[in-house]
């Protein structure tokens, strides 16, 4: 026996044992004979491409879905859950991506929501006790949070902590976290890791779903890889590296993860000059050439999305000009931007991208009906054909153009949005975090699409928080910090360290 922390946790107590779980939705077999074991007091990463069955598995554990076959044991006792509250009652808490917090209530009120300590008078709530107990709970795990703060005023990282405390208040012994870092900044991610480690120290098991494999290597004890609804591998993280995990996930070696770039950028196509907007960006100027992929790096809140929004006419410009093809554009709305050949793939595809309840074909053609010769009257047969063609071109996996968008996986939804902008014949395309929350295979497809678009002579601005992908695909990298452009570097002549330094460190 060594004395290292990791081997201390390798005790034999099993917090969760799911055996032979199968689940199908109509004709789709989401899980087949999945067995999943989590040791007490460990962080267990659950990885796999979108549609591999991760969400289905944890939703079965949390009582949201009922399995067709299989059994669940929690701390060696068998359970079947028909509803989420039954899972909660035996200590299984799920923290969803969107956190499920009541925004206008305080942290303490959220923690005790539905479970409030009673006040002295009937029908009242003992607010003081609530704050006090939240503070105690936070302290016992060394979390730093103000129980009286209103959730909507908190940064996302603190909201995560609030959601975790809420789980702890319900005596959770197994906490499921679904993509917890997808909307956090670097420092917030570090803090969340600290929180997760605290949970582990106190003997709580964390099931951690993430697409960011680097995180898993640094944080998890064990990893289980799902592919096509089956467990393909389950092992201690120390015995694996990222390349191996990726191989298990996709079932093939991703040798050429990034496409080879041999496009020679042409003449300057886009000139952004002195762009300022009310929302935090000041005097940003840069050029893009035809066929060039330019990355934009920066921390969360540095103003990258705001640059895109100002160019695209979402936010009002305070000053500045945008020249495309030697023509100065007057853009006051996304409609203006689109008709001038600019596209913006927004960072939040559910909120600002897709009309989820509507047909795929409708979502694909919405920005280009006029261009497709359907300015006033829509020809559904033609529209269907156009959507089917572009869907095939981008190999979108759907039941057909008439399928509802919410039946598609995240990666395919993203491709749907890219299809939208392909149809709009945009010359200048802005992609804001296009690979967020999509699986490795889909990421690779997005990269080669970007490359293809560049080959067609489009200018591409690629905003991303993941430096490896910026270095994998761009010709140049712009760095934003506090609303200003602080770096404009040739990708081949810089390093991730230099970009990070520019993005994170005050120079003056």
């Amino acid at each position: 026996m060594t004395t290292s922390a990791q081997s201390n946790r390798s005790g034999t107590h099993i917090a969760l044992r799911m055996t032979g779980i199968s689940k199908s939705f109509g004709p789709v077999q989401a899980l087949s004979d999945v067995s999943f074991t989590v040791r007490a007091g460990t962080v267990h990463a659950l990885v796999g491409e979108n549609g591999a069955g991760k969400s289905t598995l944890v939703k079965i554990l949390a009582g949201v879905y009922q399995p067709d076959k299989g059994s669940t044991e929690i701390h060696e006792k068998p359970y079947t859950f028909d509803r989420p509250d039954q899972a909660l009652a035996v200590g299984v808490s799920m923290i969803y991506q969107d956190l499920d917090l009541a925004e206008h209530l305080t942290v303490a009120e959220n923690v005790f929501l539905g479970n409030e300590p009673k006040g002295r008078l009937p029908f009242t709530v003992d607010y003081k006790a609530m704050v006090k107990r939240t503070a105690e709970l936070a302290k016992s795990f060394s979390f730093d949070i103000d129980p009286a703060a209103v959730v909507s005023q908190l940064p996302t990282g603190d909201c995560q902590v609030a959601a975790i405390i809420k789980a702890l208040a319900r005596r959770a012994s197994i906490i499921i976290m679904d993509e917890p870092t997808s909307s956090l900044s670097e420092t917030e991610v570090e803090r969340l890791f600290e929180v997760v480690r605290q949970l582990r120290e106190k003997g709580i098991s964390v099931i951690y779903i993430s697409h960011r494999l680097e995180e898993i290597i640094g944080l998890a004890d064990d990893v289980t890889v799902l592919r096509d609804g089956r467990v393909v591998h389950s092992e201690s993280v120390t015995k694996l590296d990222i390349a191996q995990i990726v191989r298990y996930m996709v079932g093939r070696e991703l040798t050429e993860f990034f496409p080879a770039r041999d496009v020679k950028p042409g003449d300057v196509l886009v000139r952004v000059d002195n762009l300022s907007s009310d929302s935090r960006i000041k005097e940003v100027s840069f050029n893009l050439a035809a066929g060039e992929i330019v990355g934009m790096a920066g921390l969360v809140g540095a103003g990258r999305t705001e640059v895109a929004r100002a160019i695209f006419g979402v936010d009002k410009k305070a000053s500045g000009s945008i020249v495309l093809d030697n023509k100065e554009l007057s853009i006051n709305s996304p409609a203006d931007a689109i008709s001038n050949g600019i596209a913006l793939l927004t960072e939040d595809r559910k909120r600002t991208g897709l009309c989820l309840g509507l047909a795929c074909s409708w979502n694909v053609t919405i920005a280009s009906l006029g261009l497709l010769g359907m300015k006033r009257i829509i020809n559904p047969a033609r529209e269907n054909k156009i959507a089917a063609d572009i869907g095939e071109q981008l190999s979108i996996k759907w039941l057909g153009p008439q399928a509802a968008v919410d039946s598609l996986s995240g990666g395919n939804q993203q491709k749907l949005l890219i299809a939208r902008w392909l149809l709009a014949k945009s010359k200048f395309m802005i992609f804001d975090e296009p690979t967020r929350g999509i699986d490795v295979g889909a990421k690779k497809e997005v990269y080669s699409l970007l490359n293809r678009l560049a080959e067609e002579g489009k200018a591409i601005l690629f905003i991303s928080s993941e430096l490896p992908e910026l270095f994998g695909i761009t010709d140049r990298i712009l760095v934003m910090r506090r609303g200003r452009l602080v770096g404009n570097l040739k990708t081949s002549e810089t390093t991730q360290e230099e970009v990070m330094h520019l993005a994170a460190v005050e120079t003056d």
Binding site: F25, G26, A30, R351, G353, L358
Partner: protein, 320 residues
């Protein structure tokens, strides 16, 4: 497939009710006269419900349609009398009709502008204009109606055995059905209702389209108002009180979602007819109007509950 079933549901219930009534009251229910009567009675509500459908699909609501109906009728009838004297004839009736419809358009346009330019919730804006329009209707003639004894054509006229109002209703169904399904404006209506922010980012001029939708509804209310005025040969300032609730009920029974993005003209027509047929059947069966209220209320809840259930089932089938 289940989407199809969902759309079929209101239609199936309508057919069922018609069959039951035909069996129970073959001599009185299943006569051409009675059926045409049902259609005629449905036309005013149906025309307004078509406008309401487009608004509800866009995730909005218009509570002011009842008051708008009264105001359009009052202004139309006032103009007829002002031009043509106490028993207006001929051209004064035509001018009054046109003016009444224009008032509807102005009211709808006002709603649209207030909602988009002041960025107010449709519920609040139309709650306000509901009161304002009704108030103006009362003020116009000190709460008294305007009588236009010769204004009968729209309400009672018959062409080839079919009441004029039913013909107008049919034409509007055809036009609105086409626009909603095949026009870009119709498409944008669904997009705005499904996700307004996303529609904006996809280049949809959200404000302009919403103004169109509310103005279009105003136009339809104006037409309905003149038919209603003609039917009673008088414009009542109390016309259409609580009408908006009947209209919304018809749209919702027809399968539209108050959350937006979902609804069809055919569904709304079915919903409107369902309510009319129920009313008519209850009357024929000697069930009092008071009991009718209870029946219709329960139908609304039942329709939405069944629809919800069907939706959850679809969701589950489509899960990852």
């Amino acid at each position: 497939m289940s989407k199809f079933v969902r759309q079929l549901l209101p239609f199936g219930s309508l057919t069922l009710i018609i069959c039951i009534l035909s069996a129970l009251e073959p001599d009185t229910f299943l006569t051409t006269e009675n059926l045409l009567n049902i259609l005629r009675r449905s036309s005013v509500n149906g025309i307004i419900a078509i406008g309401m459908t487009s608004i509800i699909i866009s995730a909005g609501i218009d509570l002011s349609v009842g008051s708008m109906l009264a105001l359009s009728g009052m202004v139309g009838a006032y103009a007829m009398i002002a031009i043509g004297g106490s028993d207006p004839q001929g051209s004064s009736l035509i001018i009054g009709t046109a003016l009444g419809i224009v008032i509807g358009i102005i009211c709808g346009f006002t709603n649209g502008v207030l909602i988009t330019k002041l960025k107010l919730q449709p519920f609040i804006v139309t709650l306000g204009t509901m009161s304002v329009f009704r108030g103006i209707s009362y003020v116009m003639n000190n709460g008294q109606p305007y009588n236009v004894p010769s204004y009968k054509y729209l309400g009672e006229g018959i062409v080839l055995g079919v009441p004029i109002s039913v013909i107008i209703f049919a034409v509007i169904i055809a036009i609105a059905g086409f626009l909603l399904k095949y026009s870009r404006l119709g498409r944008y209506t669904y997009a705005i209702g499904s996700n307004r922010v996303a529609a904006f980012h996809a280049g949809v001029n959200v404000d302009r389209n919403l103004i169109y939708i509310y103005t279009f509804t105003g136009l339809l209310v104006g037409i309905a108002a003149m038919i209603a005025t003609s039917r009673t040969v008088s414009a009542q300032p109390t016309a259409g009180i609580a009408l908006e609730l009947d209209i919304i009920a018809a749209v919702v029974i027809g399968g539209a979602s108050l959350a937006g993005g979902r609804g069809t003209i055919s569904g709304t027509i079915t919903g409107t007819l369902l309510i009319s047929v129920l009313r008519n059947g209850c009357t024929l069966l000697g069930i009092s109007t008071h009991v009718q209220l209870i029946v219709i209320g329960m139908i609304i809840i039942l329709a939405v509950a069944v629809d919800q259930l069907a939706q959850t089932k679809t969701r589950e089938l489509q899960a990852p």
